[in-house]
């Protein structure tokens, strides 16, 4: 049995392993399910038990995204060593570049989350029709070296058009076709989030993209840190690859210590 897996089975906090969760939502009400963890502090305490050092946090699905961006920034200000805040953007609500600039320059947020749930049957126009908005946003992110984590919305063409922007496909370890199509793009990454992504999907993602473009994400507080840790620890990957997935890759994208 691998040493990391044995230590986790003993309930040990994996403090010596750099663990960064790249996919975390700010706790609060959630229409799609009841979430017992309702505060950022409660979530950080649970992460601490497992040994998750840092969390990339963005807003909930909220009708007022500016307010949720402000709340993420406030959370990051309270815990600057543990929280990396990302802005959530949506062209239906505002000029995305103006809001991204506000989030980066005034709030200190470090990246962007885009979510397909902003588009629904009653949306006035499809997200794809905001092409110029997207191009302006990615040009801004290229200038700031800001990563973007996306759930739907971003096309293969956009990933290729902005090679300076690190793109992270949320839940992407389950998206075999996307991984195969974008295998040759070094700025394309996937995360491990989703209750339905099994351990073998992590191994498959690493076999397609290599160990440096798969990032550990949990979707907390919707999902449990320890559950999703188990998926990586029992993926059958070598320990070095596991360490890249659990934190080294995220540290590199976020330009924080511990990256290789």
């Amino acid at each position: 049995m691998s040493a990391l897996r044995a230590r986790a089975l003993a309930g040990e906090k994996l403090s010596d392993v750099l663990i960064i969760d790249f996919h975390v939502h700010l706790p609060g009400p959630w229409a799609g399910m009841a979430i017992p963890v309702q505060t950022g502090e409660h979530m950080l305490a649970i992460a601490e038990r497992v040994g998750v050092l840092r969390l990339v946090v963005f807003g909930a699905i909220h009708p007022d995204l500016r307010a949720t961006n402000d709340a993420v920034a406030a959370f990051m200000r309270r815990y600057p060593e543990r929280v990396v805040g990302f802005a959530t953007l949506n062209p239906y609500q505002f000029d995305m570049v103006a809001e991204a600039r506000r989030c980066f320059d005034e709030l200190g947020l470090k990246g962007v989350k885009l979510h397909s749930m902003h588009e629904g049957p009653h949306s006035p126009r499809p997200m794809s029709s905001y092409r110029k908005e997207w191009e302006r946003l990615f040009a801004f992110l290229a200038e700031r070296k800001g990563p973007v984590i996306y759930h739907g919305v971003v096309s293969e063409e956009m990933v290729r058009a902005f090679p300076e922007v690190p793109f992270v496909m949320a839940h992407g370890v389950g998206e075999v076709q996307a991984m195969e199509r974008l295998q040759d793009c070094p700025n394309f990454h996937v995360d491990t989030a989703s209750t339905q992504n099994p351990a073998w999907a992590i191994r498959r993602a690493v076999s397609i993209l290599g160990p440096k473009r798969v990032l550990w994400g949990t979707d907390a507080p919707l999902d449990d840190f320890a559950q999703r840790l188990g998926v990586v620890l029992d993926s059958g990957l070598e320990e070095e690859a596991i360490r890249h997935v659990l934190g080294l890759n995220a540290a590199r994208l976020l330009q924080i210590g511990g990256a290789s």
Partner: protein, 257 residues
């Protein structure tokens, strides 16, 4: 290694229509995984019972599951009216002869034997199972198929039958399970699909640890993931023991066949 005695109530073996990579369908492979991770006992069903025929799956399991105090065979169940499955009296006799003390009902959409909890056609079966206190694993591939309006008649009509929900994930209808937990002692939830952060602590605090049972959804998921969820949870050791295997063992002990 952990000090908990895990009993996996959600695992399956045998031929699999769309298997995970490197899948070994044998009982020996399951036992090897149990040994590797320190799982004491398991309650496997034959996957064939979901994807092909409940009764053929049971026959496959009877033939291929070695006798072991660590393995508790689980049979798939179905209504008998079409002649594809034994009538309840015969089923119970054959279960007793084969040492089967837990059953599983698959509700898996158009390709499964049943696509919903259709109580009129299940009444005679549930009467027989409840009379012997046989736990029912209710495996619902689409979590939105089950709401209080489906579950309340089941729980209230057969209070002697423990109902253990196996769901792929928790969605909004889990809110109504809380309503049911307040009213019915025979409702349980298996862990592998209950991945919400702080969920174990919340259910244990509000309804007691005996409402949750460890399960893995092997072979699709690794057994490690819900093991770690429980190991790292912020509940006391006695509660962890109950969730890991204590309650499953109690339910198996209480069967009268």
């Amino acid at each position: 290694m952990h000090p908990l005695e895990f009993v996996d109530v959600n695992c399956a073996i045998g031929p699999y229509y769309n298997p995970p990579p490197e899948y070994d369908p044998s009982a020996q492979a399951l036992l090897a995984r149990m040994d590797e991770l320190g799982i004491a006992e398991a309650c496997p069903v034959a996957l064939m019972g979901r994807d092909y025929s409940p009764w053929e799956g049971n026959l496959w399991l009877q033939k291929n599951l070695p006798a072991s105090p660590r393995l508790h065979p689980v049979w798939a169940v179905a209504p008998h009216y079409s002649g594809e499955f034994p009538a309840p009296a015969e089923l119970l006799e054959r279960m007793a002869a084969a040492g089967v003390r837990m059953v599983r009902l698959f509700l898996s959409g158009v390709l499964s034997f049943l696509d919903r909890l259709d109580l009129p056609v299940l009444r005679e079966l549930f009467d027989a199972l409840a009379a012997h206190r046989v736990p029912l694993l209710l495996d619902c591939y689409d979590p939105l198929l089950l709401h209080a309006q489906e579950l309340e008649p089941l729980l209230s009509s057969w209070p002697q039958m423990p109902v253990i929900l196996l769901l792929p994930k928790v969605v909004q209808n889990e809110r109504w399970f809380h309503y049911l937990w307040e009213r019915y002692d025979n409702l349980y939830l298996e862990l592998s699909g209950y991945q919400v952060l702080g969920g174990i602590e919340n259910i244990c605090r509000r309804f007691g640890p005996e409402r949750l049972l460890y399960g893995s959804r092997y072979p699709y998921f690794t057994p490690l993931q819900s093991m770690l969820q429980l190991i790292y949870s912020d509940i006391d050791e006695a509660s962890k023991k109950a969730v890991a295997g204590g309650t499953a063992r109690k339910l198996l002990r209480e069967v009268r066949l």
